[in-house]
């Protein structure tokens, strides 16, 4: 099937990825992540002493502040804050630093489609940069479904508007599980097949959704490889310094 | 916040029971009232009223506006009260908002009459310029500068004084305006309409301490009250509004008794205020 994408990509092709970390001096961890023209900056502060509001003697607390490129914070930003927060909570090992708060500030630099997945990727990279203990990585992607039924990945803003429906999906990615086996595993399905987060908009059939899942999952393998590649050398240099 | 010792509390209560209050007054005597008018030159009318250590400023600003479609033959009056933090540190920031709203509501209830305008101190139909099209809106802003009890009475008196000080420019309506358009008007710089404030009621607050009630309570006395009833009475002796503060219940017969006492006291207060206002106006004219 031939698909015309404005920028000449094939249906499975992602836009060029770029990630740089440790770009802010004052933050404990920071990263910027861009997919084509969509660019998000994330900063992590913490773990710091928990404030009274979200104090929990057993678990660490993650709070997310979403800063839009322009304008005021509305319902959309509140929803994104909540989704990013819950997604990050699921990958952090919260029991290590009980009664602390980790703040993640997500600053949108430019929005050209797939904004939420881009922000989740940036936040995840920033958490790694800050050295927050994680269970595994989270890799996010946007799948778009056109009227004719074909699926494209990582759409631009223009494509998002033209499409019938789209799904933001976040998948886990890990090499070695640090958690006890069995508590997460389901017979017959590897963990990479599960989803952390799913947000959809527009009507689609259930089969289309499952198709999106497959395609998104395949693409995230590439993204996570990229993420690991970008983060690896710095980690080794850090440890050599420490050593 | 008034922090009083047990002895002080007993002293105040005992004094009231014996009709001799801490500052030497009888139960139904007001503190000296002083009125100063024209204190805010930018406003159409203003007055500063002091009752003992209570000090309030009231200003009246008139703006042309459109009457509400429900009452096309009436002007609009609104009253706002602001408690300055100078009066008490607890009014800092938003701390004075609650009291401000309470006082605004009580003043509106006491001075502006019922929904249809019956019993209002200000004749709303005199504010109309062109029926259904244009009217004066009176914005009465009050500021509590210093607070030593009995704010409502002082504010009521200040509003009455400010209204007698108010001059509203005469408006000449240019002919030929019809239909939807706003009529063209010419606002006079020289000619002013004075208000007839003889109908504006005065507010008398009776504060119940122990078994007795007193007028013009100071803040120390107010801290000992069980409840207080503010009654606004006009020159005809009719009740124009009533609100109650304080949680303690009152027997209905006591309420009626309080009303008759308030009527009696209001006459004295009204006369005293009128003479003070006249004196203040005379001073202002001289200067």
């Amino acid at each position: 099937m031939e698909i015309d994408r404005v920028d000449g990509r094939t249906e499975n092709q992602l836009r060029p990825l770029a990630c740089s970390r440790n770009i802010l001096n004052r933050a404990h961890g920071s990263a910027s992540w861009s997919q084509g023209d969509t660019k998000v900056l994330a900063a992590v502060y913490g773990p710091k002493a928990g404030v009274k509001k979200n104090e929990n003697p057993e678990k660490a607390c993650v709070e997310v502040i979403w800063k839009p490129k322009t304008g005021q914070i509305g319902k959309l930003e509140k929803e994104y804050e909540m989704i990013v927060k819950r997604t990050l909570q699921s990958i952090c090992i919260l029991t290590i630093n009980p009664n602390t708060t980790t703040s993640v500030i997500v600053q949108v630099l430019n929005d050209d489609g797939s904004l939420l997945p881009c922000a989740i990727n940036a936040a995840c990279a920033a958490l790694i940069d800050a050295g927050i203990p994680l269970k595994h990585l989270a890799v996010a992607i946007c799948c778009c479904l056109a009227d004719s039924g074909y699926v494209i990945l990582d759409p631009t803003k223009l494509e998002e508007q033209k499409m019938k429906a789209f799904a933001y999906l976040v998948f886990p990615n890990l090499i070695l599980s640090v958690l006890p086996e069995g508590s997460l595993k389901v017979v017959g399905e590897p963990m990479e097949h599960a989803i952390i987060t799913s947000v959809t908009q527009g009507a689609m059939s259930v089969d289309d959704y499952l198709h999106c899942l497959d395609r998104g999952r395949a693409a995230t393998a590439k993204m996570s490889a990229f993420l690991r590649k970008t983060l690896q050398p710095q980690i080794s240099s850090d440890s050599s310094k420490a050593g | 916040m008034v922090g009083l010792s047990l002895g002080e509390k007993n002293f105040i209560q005992g004094g009231i029971a014996q009709d001799l209050r801490s500052d030497g007054r009888k139960r139904l005597t007001y503190r000296p009232v002083s009125v100063e008018t024209g204190v805010i030159p930018q406003a159409n009318g203003s007055a500063r009223v002091r009752m003992g250590a209570t000090d309030v400023i009231s200003s009246v600003k008139a703006e042309l506006g459109k009457p509400s479609s429900l009452q096309p033959d009436k002007g609009k009056v609104s009253i706002y009260v602001d408690c300055s933090p100078t009066a008490a540190p607890m009014f800092e920031g938003r701390g004075g908002d609650e009291l401000s709203t309470d006082l605004s509501v009580a003043l509106q209830c006491c001075l502006l009459g019922g929904k249809s305008g019956a019993g209002a101190g200000i004749d709303l139909s005199s504010l109309i310029v062109v029926e259904g099209k244009m009217c004066w809106g009176l914005y009465i802003d009050c500021l509590v500068v210093s607070s030593d009890g009995n704010l409502l009475d002082a504010l009521g008196a200040a509003i009455k004084a400010a209204l007698s000080n108010t001059g509203i420019p005469r408006v000449l309506v240019a002919a030929g305006a019809s239909g939807d358009e706003q009529p063209e008007v010419d606002i006079s710089d020289e000619e002013f309409l004075q208000f007839d404030t003889s109908d504006v009621p005065v507010i008398v607050t009776l504060t119940k301490v122990g078994r007795h009630y007193i007028v013009d309570a100071t803040s120390e006395e107010e801290s000992q009250m069980s409840s207080a009833v503010s009654i606004s009475v006009n020159r005809k002796g009719h009740i124009c509004g009533l609100t109650k503060r304080g949680g303690a219940g009152l027997d209905p017969s006591i309420v009626l008794d309080m009303i008759s006492v308030a009527k009696h006291v209001s006459e004295q207060l009204m006369n005293k205020l009128d003479s003070e206002i006249a004196a203040a106006e005379a001073v202002e004219d001289d200067s």
């Binding site: - | 429900l70 096309p72 249809s116 009740i239 109650k244 219940g249 009527k263």
Partner: protein, 254 residues
């Protein structure tokens, strides 16, 4: 996406703003819009425990006036306030956007909140929950006139449902002065062209007035008459509320 909308455009309600002629009420044969007698209240309906999430709650329906009150607490005070050996009562009254005939934006009613507080504080035995706060939150689902009295009566029922100790139930009734007539428990339409109003809040068994508000011009005998009418209605209302509470306890025991 079709639901794309930026700032909402300005809108207006197409309802007819008919100028009610007040003159009709001066005629001798004037009848109330809902056909009640001048001294007849609307049928009152109460139900307790309307909200499970609250410590106590009540729903009240007087004609078209529908109100829910929830009581939370006694619980920790919201702000770190000064030590107090008596409890605090915190009241809030708000309206839904569709409660009034014209859709309203600002739904919080500060003035009603403070009136509700004044009406209740005398009846609640604050000494029984020192240092803590009892929150009384009211939501007017639909406004059909005499909103505040209904909120007050409903709130006292909710407090009783929450097991907060009170000296007595608090009931409240208002009346409107229309020309020479005194009509009790007015509906929205009557309130809009009233000459004066009188609202009484009382503890019927103790025969004590906790709150009284009068607007408009009144002569003393008329106040007398109005107060008596309201007090009688209050005690009738108290009976209805009491039977509602009794019913609730008997059904829960079964």
């Amino acid at each position: 996406m079709a639901g794309r909308r930026g700032t909402n455009p300005t809108t207006y309600s197409p309802s007819l703003k008919t100028q009610k002629t007040r003159s009709t009420i001066f005629k001798d044969d004037w009848v109330r819009p809902d056909g009640r007698g001048f001294q007849q209240c609307r049928p009152a309906f109460f139900r307790t425990s309307a909200v499970t999430a609250a410590s106590g709650s009540a729903y009240a329906e007087f004609g078209n006036t529908k109100v829910i009150v929830s009581v939370f607490g006694p619980r920790e005070s919201k702000k770190a306030m000064m030590y107090s050996d008596i409890g605090r009562l915190n009241c809030n009254v708000s309206y839904t956007t569709f409660a009034t005939p014209v859709r309203a934006q600002g739904s919080d009613r500060k003035d009603f909140s403070s009136m509700l507080h004044k009406a209740l504080e005398g009846a609640v035995i604050l000494e029984t929950f020192p240092k803590t706060t009892v929150d009384v939150f009211a939501l007017v689902l639909e406004s059909g006139g005499s909103d505040l009295p209904v909120v007050i009566s409903c709130a006292s029922l909710a407090l009783a449902d929450a097991g907060i100790l009170m000296y007595d139930l608090v009931t409240s009734v208002s009346l409107s002065c229309l020309g020479k007539n005194l009509v009790i428990d007015p509906i929205l339409e009557e309130e809009s062209y009233q000459d004066g109003s009188l609202m009484i809040t009382c503890m019927p068994s103790r025969y004590e007035v906790t709150q009284l508000t009068i607007t408009g011009e009144w002569s003393t005998p008329k106040i007398n008459e109005g107060m008596q009418l309201c007090l009688d209605a209050c005690s009738k209302l108290a009976n209805i509320m009491r039977s509602c509470l009794k019913e609730a306890t008997t059904t829960s025991q079964e």
